[in-house]
């Protein structure tokens, strides 16, 4: 039975639009707050050095095929040598940077700030929606869903005969949460459209880069085979030059 419910215009004026506007504004606000709160840390010299070593090793790996094989092998030994190679970290020292990071008050504060700035607006908005906008039909989604979605989408509405397409405002909130990601990426410029779900995924893998990264990079370089990518270089250069001259 698909009777068309007639919904009050006031719902549109006072629920749908304000909720969307509020979510957009909160996203923008969060972006600016995160920019302001980006405290200037003086980075630790040792950590920066290790980061740069990793970068260098990575560049070596990507460009391995463009240097002659002897040069590649020389570099490989420089990095992976057991005694004094750059990437070789004796077992005892591996754990230290990680412990140091967690006990370092500055970094712990930073992590907490990031977490909070992400979780608080979401929780607050959700509580606000639940408090003010529950118990009535808020919107109709234009496509039909199965009955199993009823409990998820219609949690404020206690009639079981209403079509599942008529949803409560909580589901409008979730729809906005996911759908406004694209909008944020357009209006906030490229990398700053980090939405909640992405941040949550980033938080999961927070392993401290240098300590694990060094041995990982070392293994990667050990594995890399050298495949000389520029054979007949002289002939090709000659062909290109001829083309340019003849144009």
């Amino acid at each position: 039975m698909a009777e068309d419910l007639v919904l009050d215009t006031a719902i549109r004026d006072w629920v749908l639009i304000p909720l969307s506007v509020v979510m957009v504004l909160i996203g923008v606000l969060r972006y600016f707050v995160s920019m302001l709160m980006r405290s200037t840390q003086t980075p630790d010299a040792k950590i920066v050095k290790e980061g740069q070593v990793i970068l260098r090793a990575r560049n070596l790996r990507t460009g391995a095929n463009f240097v002659p094989s002897k040069a590649f092998r020389a570099r490989k030994i420089y990095f992976c040598n057991e005694e004094n190679g750059l990437l070789f970290v004796p077992k005892g020292q591996v754990q230290n940077p990680q412990a140091q990071m967690f006990s370092d008050p500055n970094m712990a504060m930073d992590m907490m700030k990031k977490n909070l700035s992400m979780i608080i607006p979401q929780t607050l908005t959700f509580a606000w929606v639940n408090f003010f906008f529950s118990g009535f039909v808020a919107a109709k989604i234009p496509f039909p869903l199965t009955q199993r979605f009823r409990s998820m989408l219609q949690n404020g509405i206690d009639l079981s005969t209403v079509d599942v397409s008529y949803v409560s405002s909580r589901s409008w909130y979730f729809l906005n949460l996911f759908g406004l990601r694209g909008l944020f990426s357009l209006i906030l410029g490229e990398e700053n459209a980090v939405d909640d779900t992405q941040r949550m995924m980033q938080m999961g893998g927070f392993g401290f880069d240098p300590s694990k990264g060094l041995s990982a990079e070392k293994d990667n370089i050990d594995i890399t085979q050298h495949d000389w990518a520029l054979p007949n270089l002289e002939q090709r250069a000659e062909a290109v030059l001829r083309n340019v001259i003849n144009q």
């Binding site: 419910l5 549109r12 234009p142 729809l175 759908g179 406004l180 357009l186 290109v240 083309n243 144009q247």
Partner: protein, 120 residues
Amino acid sequence: MAVHSDSASSGKKSSNGLNELLTFNAENMQSNMKIIYYSRTFLSIIGGVVAGILGFTGLKGFVFYLLLMALTSLGLVAKAGFSTHTYFDSWNRVLLDGFLGGLMSFVLFWTFAYDIVHIF
């Protein structure tokens, strides 16, 4: 080798045309990816509003979305001068990249426009 560099909707050529080896400039590739993402997102938003205003429901709306994505892919390929391999490293990127991300925005604006125009 062609001297004037064509650009794919202000993206950059990310590979040189050497016969034996294709190398990709990572930065340019990323910038091209970003452009695909933006065009898809923008078009999904607009498409969502259009679908809502026109009153598509159910399957018709999703078919419209698929049509929109196909149109986007076509546009991108045409802008890249039909030689996608110089700008992207695989077909899948041009065709399928921002698909699911655009879907959520499409559904949101579709619902929004549909409700505003038809229900209220």
